[in-house]
């Protein structure tokens, strides 16, 4: 019985979050908005605070970064800058909970309670150069697989919508192995946005993308910022154009 309830709750939440994004995109009618707010208020508008507490990390004997502290809350977009090899990707992996910092920690707090690693990962959507999808599966199969892992039922309409959003409409049946690097980057966005996660972590967000793709990424980030349900984003980049998406969070100097 308990499972059944969770299922229903889960479905409604998914719908709500998707709906919220739709409002941003399409400015839908007020009545629907009110209904959705009513639904989402109970569960999905919780604010999230991400805190980095004195985070240090070393690779072998080399200190990548030392004693970093910062915090970011819902509604903000934080930009991490730093030269090559300064540890931007490593820091994002630590924030995502994929890597454990040597000392210090990263906490996700919502309503005064801290989230464990699994819960944290569940609300993260990530795009990074070292995150790849299955080359031996098609784009649609990749999305279906990861959606089902997250407990989201991926029907045809949802897949088409997800692929259209990243400009891959009509390419869903092709093997990812046959995609160009730009198309793979686009598919990663479709993956990251599955289930509309509250926290977006983007590492080199426009790598391999054409100008059209860059505009797409910017649109995605702006939409994410405009969400009213407590979303936040952290972007690691050096592109001047992308640093203007949010406020500086951390600047990393290259360690010795």
């Amino acid at each position: 019985m308990r499972c059944g309830i969770i299922e229903i709750e889960n479905l409604s939440v998914t719908k709500t979050v998707c709906g919220v994004l739709k409002q941003v995109n399409q400015e839908e009618s007020d009545t629907e908005k009110a209904a959705q707010d009513g639904l989402s208020a109970s569960s999905s508008t919780r604010r999230i605070h991400v805190c980095l507490n004195h985070v240090s990390h070393r690779f072998g004997g080399r200190t990548v970064f030392d004693n970093l502290s910062a915090s970011i809350s819902s509604g903000q977009t934080g930009i991490i800058t730093g030269s090559n090899g300064s540890g931007k990707s490593t820091l994002l992996r630590i924030i995502a909970g994929l890597l454990e910092a040597d000392s210090g920690d990263v906490t996700f707090e919502t309503d005064g309670s801290y989230l464990d690693t699994q819960m944290r990962r569940h609300m993260i959507g990530m795009v990074a150069p070292d995150l790849t999808l299955y080359k031996e599966l098609t784009g649609a199969e990749n999305l279906t697989f990861f959606a089902s892992l997250k407990g989201i039922k991926a029907d045809r309409a949802m897949l088409v919508e997800a692929l259209t959003e990243v400009g891959l409409r009509g390419r869903g049946r092709d093997l990812v192995g046959g995609y160009s690097s730009g198309m793979r980057q686009r598919l990663k966005y479709a993956f990251a946005l599955l289930g509309r996660p509250k926290v977006l972590l983007l590492d080199e967000p426009t790598a391999n993308l054409d100008s059209d793709g860059m505009a797409m990424v910017e649109r995605i980030v702006r939409c994410h910022q405009a969400r009213t349900d407590g979303a936040l984003a952290i972007v690691a980049t050096n592109e001047p154009r992308e640093t203007s998406w949010g406020e500086p969070l951390i600047h990393l100097e290259r360690g010795e």
């Binding site: 969770i6 994929l98 819960m119």
Partner: protein
């Protein structure tokens, strides 16, 4: 997303394991890397065995050459084909083959995730319990498939008898479970260690040797003629029980430690 969809729910990791299993199966049916390498390895070793054991058959073959065609009896042909070992040794050789074949191919499922870089996406989306269960199920399926293909062929080639069918089948099943569970957790370790190939064998084979020792002992019991039926049954149960408990223990320890391998 809402907390209730957290991956910690018991029903959730089972569902995730199922998804991963189906994904692996689909990818495998498309690329056939693992099944081809395991199958090909098994069959070519079988060929090697046939060649290497020529000495055991030579006498009969030479005698046959001198004889006029019409005098050759089916029994001679059979004897020429089948090496003159005990059934238990044939069983031992079969498992040596399966063992090396498993070690040739079962690492693929983990190593591939690691090398292709898909491991990051998986770690973001799945709980370790789900990954372990899914991969174990996939590896066991693969091993069952190979054993199912190779064993009848091997039996035909070497004349190995099943003896007592239920016991024989239980033995094969327990063997696959023990071998598959060992290979799965060792593959996970080797995949993380990157050096992979050589390391997989080096750290996996000592573990599996113990298991093979038990398995061959059970095979000895299976093929032994015993006058005391009750004692024979007790010995069989004891041996097969030892085999099955090895598999179960290994799976339990793996399930318990897998998250330390999976997380960095």
């Amino acid at each position: 997303m809402k907390a209730s969809t957290g991956p910690n729910d018991a029903s959730n990791w089972m569902a995730q394991a199922r998804c991963l299993f189906l994904k692996d199966l689909r990818a495998e049916l498309r690329t056939r890397v693992a099944i081809n390498s395991v199958g090909l390895f098994a069959f070519s070793s079988l060929l090697l065995v046939a060649l290497a054991t020529r000495g055991l058959r030579e006498v009969m073959t030479l005698r046959m050459l001198d004889l006029p065609i019409d005098i050759i009896r089916p029994a001679d042909v059979t004897a020429a084909m089948f090496p003159a070992w005990s059934a238990a040794s044939k069983m031992g050789l079969l498992w040596t083959l399966l063992c090396f074949a498993a070690f040739a191919g079962l690492a693929h499922s983990f190593v591939h995730e690691e090398e292709a870089g898909t491991v990051t996406a998986l770690r973001l989306s799945m709980s370790p319990a789900g990954v372990y269960t899914g991969k174990l199920a996939f590896n066991l399926t693969l091993l069952f498939a190979v054993a199912l293909l190779v064993t009848p062929f091997y039996m035909g080639l070497t004349g190995m008898q099943a003896g007592n069918w239920p016991v024989f089948l239980t033995l094969m099943l327990a063997g696959c479970i023990g071998l598959g569970s060992t290979a799965t957790i060792v593959a996970a370790l080797a995949a993380k260690a990157r050096g992979s190939g050589a390391l997989f064998g080096a750290i996996g084979l000592p573990i599996i040797t113990v298991f093979l020792m038990l398995l061959l002992n059970a095979a000895n019991t299976l093929y032994s003629d015993s006058t005391d039926a009750a004692a024979h049954t007790i010995k069989t149960v004891q041996d097969v029980g030892g085999l099955i408990s090895f598999g179960i223990l290994l799976i339990s320890v793996s399930a318990f430690t897998f998250r330390f391998v999976w997380e960095e």
